[in-house]
């Protein structure tokens, strides 16, 4: 939805509301309207004060380096200041009908001010030079609305893509298209499996070396039952870690680990103290 059309509809709606609220509240008026085209130094290349409903007497040229500024006050017909709900300067291309609007901001206690920044000019006006009609669009829910034709300006720029010029400065933004992260580059399964085998290979070398050093696993059957219970409980802890990795949850796993702690400690204490007593 283009803002200027919507702003005008809002102005009309505001006017209707104003009428319904009672004639005593009055319509909103634009007072002390000044249209300026400023130099880079801040001096006014063009300046004209307007009294509603008068329009600009000439057509000023507006370039990237000479921005357009419109300042005004908003008040009722009785002269009371009005806090506007909407204030914008709308520019409509005379040939293409493309519209762009720039919101007017009010400084503290000062007048409303709408100015075209260099970025806005570059984005919206520069690519579509030509003659634009300038309209001051004001709206107040309480006091009604106003669409004040200020006149025309000539925008000097380089013809560019028409698509951009049609976008309203305050219109809806383009749709956001999510872009998910690219998947990580992974090696092939064969490489991963090969390395898994390579990592497991030192285990075979270790066991063979232990056998050569005289470590005899068959002697385990001569171990006292307490030592086997202790080793069994340690193996249970390892199995618990594997089960947790596979799909267990942390807190239940910690609970099981805590439950195994005391038996493991007692079994270990018993087994190792018997080894010390036997002098092994």
């Amino acid at each position: 939805m283009k803002l200027p059309g919507a702003a005008r509809a809002l102005a009309g709606l505001g006017a209707l509301c104003g009428l319904l609220c009672g004639l005593a509240s009055g319509e909103v008026m634009a007072a002390n309207v000044v249209v300026r085209v400023l130099e880079r130094t801040g001096d006014a290349q063009f300046e004209q004060a307007l009294a509603y409903p008068a329009a600009l007497s000439t057509v000023p040229k507006v370039r990237l380096s000479t921005p357009l500024t419109v300042t005004f006050d908003a008040q009722t017909a009785g002269g009371a200041a009005v806090q506007l709900d909407r204030a914008a300067v709308s520019l409509q291309h005379a040939e293409t009908g493309a519209e762009v609007a720039f919101a007017a901001q009010r400084s503290k206690g000062g007048p409303y001010r709408a100015s075209i920044s260099r970025a806005d000019f570059r984005r919206h006006l520069g690519p579509a030079p030509g003659r634009y009609s300038v309209t001051l669009v004001l709206g107040s829910f309480e006091h009604g609305g106003l669409a004040y034709e200020l006149g025309a300006i000539d925008v000097v720029g380089k013809q560019g893509k028409q698509g951009k010029a049609r976008l309203a400065a305050l219109g809806p933004r383009p749709e956001i298209r999510h872009r998910f992260a690219d998947p990580q580059r992974m090696p092939s399964a064969a490489v991963s499996l090969a390395f898994a085998g390579l990592v497991a290979a030192p285990l075979g070398v270790l066991l063979r070396t232990w056998a050569r050093l005289g470590v005899n696993a068959a002697n385990l059957k001569h171990e006292p039952a307490g030592a086997l219970v202790f080793m069994g409980l340690v193996a249970t802890y390892m199995a618990l870690a594997v089960a947790y990795w596979v799909g267990g949850r942390l807190l239940p796993t910690l609970g099981y680990a805590l439950a195994l702690a005391l038996p493991t400690y007692l079994a270990g204490q018993h087994a190792l103290s018997r080894r010390i007593a036997r002098g092994l």
Binding site: Q184, R185, M186, P187, V191, S192, F195, L198, V199, P202, L203, V205, L206, T209, W210, L213, G214, V215, V234, Y237, M238, L240, A241, V242, Y244, W245, L250, T253, A257, G268, L272, S273, R275, I276
Partner: protein, 111 residues
């Protein structure tokens, strides 16, 4: 070069003759931990670190096992009996406890 070979050969000979069997078992386990860590590091360098948490878990496990084994070796070495109070069985109990805790942390970090 010949001198270095001679020194290394002498070192190996003295090591085999002097070192108790228990310490040799621990030493081979430490070499095993280093080898496993190096292979994992080589995979990380060649194939990339993704998933990084898995690499850290595996490599950290190898390093931690090496450290625990080094501690066990220091405490069970008869030459260090004066420095460390307590029997070798107590050191082994600490070794087991540290490994249990380590493997829980590693399994948590593996993801």
């Amino acid at each position: 070069m010949a001198a270095a070979t001679h020194i290394l050969a002498g070192l190996a000979r003295d090591y085999a003759a002097v070192t108790p069997q228990r310490l040799k078992v621990i030493d081979t386990y430490m070499v095993f931990c280093v080898a496993v860590g190096l292979i994992q590091l080589a995979y990380c360098v060649l194939a990339g670190s993704f998933p990084y948490n898995a690499f850290l878990a595996g490599f950290g496990s190898a390093v931690a096992c090496f450290v625990f084994a080094a501690s066990l070796r220091m405490k069970t070495n008869p030459k260090n009996a004066g420095q460390f109070a307590g029997p070798p069985e107590a050191a082994f109990a600490e070794f087991v406890f540290c490994h249990i805790a380590l493997h829980f942390v590693v399994s948590h970090f593996l993801g």
